[in-house]
Symmetry: C2
Subunit: 359 residues, 2 copies
């Protein structure tokens, strides 16, 4: 990944905000800017240019940092953030992520860097990360294709059948993704059968699947740091009328949300495009979460698509659209795709059919 | 788990610190005190008694909260911490975890709760969590036994052999733990062969294992919320003299650390008991991390055992002892157990042999 260009793009944002440098403490932001994949690091990016950049990790990662961050001056310390704050010149206006740095962490910065001006500066790297480079879209596409392939083989082999437990089904699908080359699941697989499908974020249990169940499956693959996210809801055996109607409704809402996903669309309008379909059918109260979220180096990242969301959709955004209706005690349906926004609209990167599949 | 008793124990700590209530925002702390396992929640525990306790999660978890936190007044909101701060009476001295609440999060509390006194209060729940109840020791023991069993079967079936890749080996062992009933690996398995074994926290790659390699395996099982942690270093084929000597050295250091782990022992003395063995052999610079850490609802939690650590060991602590020596470009050895401290010393909960096993 072209991290020097990313750092240069960040420099432009720093200069526009009147910051001399930014202390980057979020590990995913650090990875995005430096390529470093270890578990303890921070990074100072200087508005003036690469010569002012300093990377910090601790001794456990000396070898790894030398390989992954060969092009940036590196210091080794356990407490990376205050160590780096002390490296910037006196009178530097140093931005820090006030939505990420703790109250104690801020006090440590103040103590370590007397004579520097600490200024809250949130979302700067996130603004860059929200608009994916072509290579990043390819990376998410790869993860999505792997998840599609894993699911297709899994269904063909009878992976979701009455008598299996939720846990067995989830584990088998995750293992299949790993065998296909995923580094792991993108998040803990949600496999929820019967009444459990009405719990939006259900954790798989030892409960068995039964004929007549709605089976909600929300899962993804992690490949080379990038995530996929997809939900499908199946039915075991012939669907009851209410199950088919619920699925049809959510599918229509999902199509409406995807159709609204285009450059310049306002975020609340995208949410409303999908939510209104459900609300008009009388199930607005049963759609208890936002419509979608960004996907990239994190499974959940900005932009957030909800009724209270702000801003506009842009080309390069990679987002989920995932309406759901949850009927407590009976069952729920969610349908979700990961989509890439292009100049002419949004393309679904997850490709499994959105029709109601009877297993 | 007896969460009402835990909350009562916390009340005593609050009163001793002059706090009227504590705003608990760390999700693991919330789980410890309430039993709630969802991904968004906060909890106010009142010094005065259970009637002042309030739990908060969001609408996605309404059903789950009703089942898991049936005994506490519950409110539903997305922004749990400021919502709860606003529920406490005016003039309340409300503690918050300043090592966990962000600068922005603190500002939101101030805005939401005018007339309350916010006071930094760190480590209160951690102090309780560090001393495990008997049922918690059983839970860690169960996870450790599962990991031992998975490894024994894995080795018996030739799981670690020349020609397999690091990733394949790690995935197979993780899958075996899941088949035995683990909810997942306790953390991303470290499987590092040959020169990679010199990287303390190596992520498995597509590299193949070769005869003559040291193979470092650091892994654990997650069972019902509790973790295990164990490292063994094997050799593929007959060990070279330096490999045997390195393993003997680290094993001796590990025994010394375990022997020092007893109630009232000072933390730096436990670290030194193990580290001195390695330093006296001339490898002090190659032992680049602390000796160990607490294990429980988190894989890494207080107490931390290092040269700069503070405090004393106590009965009920569950800790790792994991010295390592890393020779860059050649290979490394780490040996680690999870131990429970009792009145008469420490008992290893992980039981796989610490002898050098030739595969």
């Amino acid at each position: 990944m072209p991290t020097p260009e990313r750092r240069d793009a960040l420099r432009a944002l720093l200069r526009a905000d009147g910051l001399d440098a930014l202390l980057v403490t979020d590990l995913i932001d650090v990875r995005y800017l430096s390529g470093f994949t270890g578990s303890n690091a921070a990074f100072v990016v200087s508005a003036a240019g690469p010569d002012g950049d300093v990377f910090c990790t601790d001794g456990r990662y000396r070898t790894q940092a030398a390989a992954e961050v060969a092009d940036v001056r590196t210091v080794l310390a356990r407490a990376c953030a205050p160590t780096l704050a002390a490296t910037v010149p006196a009178a530097t206006t140093l931005g820090y992520a006030s939505d990420q740095v703790t109250v104690d962490g801020h006090a440590a910065l103040v103590a370590a860097a007397p004579g520097r001006y600490l200024r809250a500066a949130t979302g700067l790297v996130g603004r860059l990360r929200a608009v994916k480079e072509p290579g990043e879209v390819v990376a998410v596409r790869t993860a999505c294709a792997l998840a599609d392939e894993a699911l297709a083989g899994f269904l063909a082999d009878g992976g979701i059948v009455a008598g299996r437990t939720e846990r067995d089904v989830a584990l088998d699908l995750e293992t299949r993704m790993r065998r296909l080359g995923a580094d792991g699941p993108a998040f803990e697989t949600i496999l929820a059968a019967g009444a459990h499908s009405a719990i939006p974020h259900h954790r798989p249990t030892g409960a068995e699947l039964h004929v007549g169940d709605l089976v909600k499956l929300d899962f993804g693959a992690l490949v080379a740091g990038y995530h996929s996210d997809m939900t499908r809801t199946f039915v075991l055996g012939p669907p009851a009328d209410w199950q088919r109607e619920l699925h049809d409704l959510v599918a229509a809402a999902q199509r409406a949300g995807c159709a609204a996903l285009a450059p310049e669309a306002e975020v609340p309008a995208v949410d409303a495009a999908s939510r209104d379909v459900i609300a008009e059918a009388g199930f607005g109260e049963q759609f208890v979460h936002g419509l979608g979220h960004g996907v990239g180096l994190q499974i959940h990242e900005p932009p957030w698509i909800s009724a209270k969301g702000t801003g506009r959709i842009a080309a390069g955004h990679v987002l989920t659209v995932e309406p759901g209706v949850y009927l407590e005690g009976r069952g729920g349906v969610r349908i979700e795709d990961t989509l890439a926004v292009r100049d002419d609209g949004a393309e679904a990167l997850t490709g499994t059919t959105r029709e109601l599949v009877q297993l």
